[in-house]
Subunit: 130 residues, 2 copies
DNA sequence: TGACTATATAACTATACAGTTATATAGTGC
DNA sequence: GCACTATATAACTGTATAGTTATATAGTCA
């Protein structure tokens, strides 16, 4: 978990070429699981530890049915882990690499925003907005 | 570019919480751009350097119109850079972090596949398949 | 100029899926 | 058993978009 990005990149190139048609579809579906604002919001809400469906529903501002559907999908892709205790069901981030993924994306977007100053505001830190 | 994944993760957590509604949508769209098998195939084909639309059309097995559409989209998200020379238009990977993204995803899927042996075959290296 | 090639785009179809509403399932405590 | 709460799911609607076909645009060369 402490290998450098540079070596990761090299590892990547060899792995990437090894991906066949079916694997590409699999990878694409995985990205698709992360390609929904509401799901990102849910993952975001899970950063500081597990939460049950009710909590996530409230935090995300979605409906219970909708959040439940998203959680089911996230669990299918092993992005979150599910654990029922009593009548509640608790979800937690399954793998910290989810955050690494988001970091890379946010980093890229951050760089791009230096060229588009008006969108840069999107990344005002929570401290500044409070 | 040589900071460790561990520190990236920490950086990530602070950044992630700073993302507001609009930024989440932006990140989601970015993931969506990567969530198509054909686009991944095109990016894959660009790994060993720039190629024009005809070459990419042939390599990907898609139609010219379809590949052109995908390339336009990839360029919009700054995943590829466009450069026309004569009647040809050459595309190249805009940013190596695209590969880092894929590495993280492929790594995750790789781990998951140790649990699902039947899907593991998907990752047979190209040497083995030839 | 016109013929030829490469790329982009417009218009269309079919499919996938996010979100909604209503209902089912399952656990708890009486 | 019943009432209550939490979560999941079924059925539906609307929207977004991948892929197709046909056409437009633009560069090259005679």
């Amino acid at each position: 978990m402490s290998i450098s990005i540079k070596s990761l990149h090299i590892t990547m190139e060899s792995k990437m070429s090894a991906l066949n048609e079916q694997a590409l579809e699999y990878v694409a579906k995985y990205f698709k699981a992360l390609a929904e604002p509401m799901r990102l919001k849910v993952l975001n809400a899970l950063q500081d530890g597990e939460k049950n469906v009710s909590q996530l529903t409230q935090l995300s501002g979605g409906t219970q049915a909708n959040i439940s559907k998203h959680l089911t999908l996230l669990a299918q892709y092993n992005l979150v882990k599910r654990e029922s205790r009593g009548t509640n069901v608790y979800y937690r981030i399954a793998d910290p690499s989810v955050y690494e993924l988001c970091e890379l994306v946010c980093g890229q977007i951050g760089n791009r925003m230096t060229l588009e100053e008006d969108i840069k505001k999107l990344f005002i830190t929570s401290n500044q907005t409070e």
